[in-house]
């Protein structure tokens, strides 16, 4: 058991590119911390530095208050599950599970006993004499897990452990990992690029982009109060709509220019976001989750006209891409280009392209970001 602490951790490659830049993060003893971000954001680098597979450029990594920067992986007592599992192809499942214990020169009796127990926990008993080649993806994944947990490491490191599985297995094993982690209460760093996986798994989630830590918090915090426009766009499926907008001070209150409409911001919202006061008379980004936008039957001064561009029917929900008078922000794209306002509706809806709708945006559902993309709170 151990706590991990990253202090000003930096990884610079020889090319000068930053893998990780001045990252500060604490992972508590027994905690499951999910590192999430788009591919190439540095999350795997962070994991590999923790394992000792990559050199730290500057800053420090502490495991249980001990700086481990210069300790080789063999002596860190960490266990790692690799994306492709890295099972030893020439060894049986038994051989794979036993290998870490054999490296610790444990007595044969004890090794045998532990292998038997782990195999039981992970349902691997009938597979013990098979080689990795003869296993299914899910079985291989379990062997990789077994090899990690068999040696009572201080820390688990998991590098996209589910990305080679099909969608159904992924959900299943995700639950299993969460259960196992709680049971064993071992400090865990879990890397994924899949924000849904991060949200369902993490006790806390650290969002990383371009080597910089963007936000750390519980899934709920990150979803409801994103620290910046990147997190807002990255978390959620689809991500938050970001609308270019401005604040005006008028009649002693603050008003929000939303397309053609100018809406007064009620006092309860101003109390929630005291920062808005200091950003009046400025251009801001307004964020709204696609499910928080509603269709309206009647045109009024509370609604905005919109024209259907495309619809994606998912069965239980429908995502509608709308052309509106709102200026969609394109500078904080986490996933692809977006030029339309997305609306997420429950159930199945049939719209034809070009159809005119009226939408209503509730002022209480908004998030605000300054022109640099930082959240206004």
């Amino acid at each position: 058991m151990a706590a991990i602490e990253f202090n000003n951790l930096t990884k610079r490659y020889d090319s000068g590119i930053h893998g990780i830049h001045r990252l500060n993060l604490k992972v508590g003893d027994g905690e499951l911390m999910v590192l999430v971000g788009p591919s190439g954001c540095g999350k795997s680098t962070l994991l590999r530095m923790t394992a000792g597979l990559e050199e730290v450029s500057s800053g420090e990594i502490r495991i249980d208050d001990r700086v481990v920067n210069h300790i080789p992986p063999q002596q860190r007592n960490v266990a790692m599950v690799f994306q492709n599992y890295a099972l030893y192809p020439h060894m049986t499942v038994r051989g794979n599970l036993a290998f870490p214990l054999r490296m610790q020169k444990q007595p044969a009796m004890l090794i045998e006993e532990r292998v038997r127990r782990i195999a039981e926990i992970l349902d691997l008993t009938p597979l013990l004499d098979r080689r990795p080649k003869a296993l299914s993806g899910g079985q291989r994944q379990r062997v990789a897990m077994g090899r990690a947990i068999i040696r009572k490491a201080d820390i688990f490191l998991m590098d996209e452990p589910l990305s080679n599985l099909d969608a159904r297995l992924r959900v299943e094993i995700r639950g299993e990992i969460a259960r196992l982690q709680r049971q064993l209460a071992i400090t865990t760093l879990y890397v994924t690029h899949d924000q849904a996986e991060a949200m369902t798994l993490g006790q806390r989630v650290a969002v990383i982009d371009r080597g910089l830590l963007q936000q750390v918090g519980s899934p709920q915090e990150i979803y409801e109060r994103p620290a910046n426009a990147f997190v807002a766009r990255f978390i959620g499926s689809p991500g938050m709509n970001l609308i270019q907008s401005s604040l005006y001070r008028e009649n002693g209150g603050i008003q929000l220019q939303l397309g053609p409409r100018r809406l007064p911001i009620p006092q309860r919202v101003l109390t929630d976001f005291p920062g808005l006061a200091t950003h009046s008379e400025e251009s801001v980004l307004v964020g709204i989750r696609p499910h928080a936008i509603h269709l309206s039957d009647t045109d009024s001064n509370e609604t905005l006209p919109a024209r259907v561009c495309t619809t994606e029917a998912m069965g239980h929900e429908t995502i509608v891409h709308l052309d509106t008078a709102l200026a969609i922000d394109n500078s904080h794209q986490a996933r692809g280009d977006q030029t339309h306002l997305l609306v997420q509706l429950t159930g199945h809806h049939n719209f034809s392209a070009g159809e005119q709708l009226a939408i209503r945006i509730g002022i209480d559902d908004l998030c605000f970001f300054d022109s640099d993309g930082e959240a206004i709170r």
Partner: protein
């Protein structure tokens, strides 16, 4: 950055692992080769009471005015110019025939490759029997049969005109399987979809060969040509066993002359100069190959 040991610096174990091989390469390749380079510019001769002098390019000038050595060079060039294309074409033909995947292919491949595992000294001895003079020699008898009796029995290995072709023939027989196997592997690496696409585009068998097979086979082809050309310049075993360079220097080679100079005449410096010339030839061929090889990008 602190002066502390780098986390992943493995200099100590790496040196331990690499040392035996590096030491071997240093002692038995680099050092002798460097010695040859130096000796080639001296007049060292074993057993000579005279002091050793640096003589600059004298040994090379001597070599290029030495009719025996020039003949050796010419013989090597001739061997390369004739045997290499013939052997490559034959290997390509065999590979193409085997690549059709007909039943029995494996047996044929085994047979064609078999001579490759034969030591050249043994091949030379067997073919000495085949080239036996008189109408009883197998080659003579075969040629007589094939020419409807027009061929007059020859003593191949003692005929200045026939000795070299005779040696070429057995060298091709021994080596073609090596090239064939490499070209066959190359052929099997060509994606079938390319042929399917070409067939859809209306390309017939010949056009497929010309526009797909040969371009796709470019690197293996260049490789086998390189290896065979270098082998042509290393020619020694057959010559030493079958003809001793004769008759009338018709089969002498650079390496044969080098061994003669080093071994029989103790001319260390001259032999070293020959070694250097030989090395430069090999280097030139290798550089040519590098130039012609397309470097495919590694796919991670």
């Amino acid at each position: 950055m602190s002066r502390r040991r780098r986390l992943n610096d493995q200099t100590a174990p790496a040196l331990l692992l690499a040392m035996p091989a590096l030491l071997g390469l240093l002692l038995f390749i680099l050092l002798p080769f460097a010695t040859a380079l130096v000796l080639a510019f001296t007049d060292l001769r074993l057993g000579s009471p005279l002091a050793v002098n640096l003589v600059g390019l004298d040994q090379f000038l001597y070599l290029f005015n030495d009719p025996d050595f020039m003949r050796a060079l010419l013989n090597n060039l001739l061997f390369a110019a004739v045997a290499v294309p013939l052997q490559t074409l034959l290997a390509l033909a065999l590979a193409l025939l085997l690549n059709r995947g007909l039943p029995g292919t494996l047996a044929f491949r085994t047979l064609f490759f078999m001579p490759v595992v034969f030591p050249m000294s043994l091949v030379a001895v067997i073919w000495s029997l085949i080239y036996a003079p008189g109408p009883n020699g197998m080659m003579n008898a075969f040629l007589q049969w094939a020419s409807f009796g027009l061929w007059e029995a020859k003593d191949f290995l003692r005929d200045p005109l026939l000795a070299m072709p005779a040696i070429m023939l057995l060298s091709i027989w021994q080596g073609v399987g090596f090239q064939m196997v490499i070209l066959l592997a190359g052929l099997q690496g060509i994606p079938q979809t390319l042929y399917e696409a070409a067939a859809l585009d209306g390309a017939g068998r010949w056009r497929q060969l010309l526009h797909i097979t040969l371009p796709q086979l470019r690197n293996p082809l260049i490789f086998v040509i390189l290896v065979t050309t270098i082998l042509a310049f290393r020619l020694f075993d057959q010559v030493q066993i079958m003809t001793r360079g004769g008759p009338e220097n018709a089969t002498t080679t650079v390496i044969y002359e080098t061994v003669q100079a080093a071994f029989a005449r103790q001319q260390v410096a001259l032999a070293s100069a020959m070694t250097v010339v030989f090395f430069l030839l090999v280097l030139a061929i290798t550089l040519l190959q590098r130039r012609f090889t397309h470097h495919q990008r590694e796919v991670a």
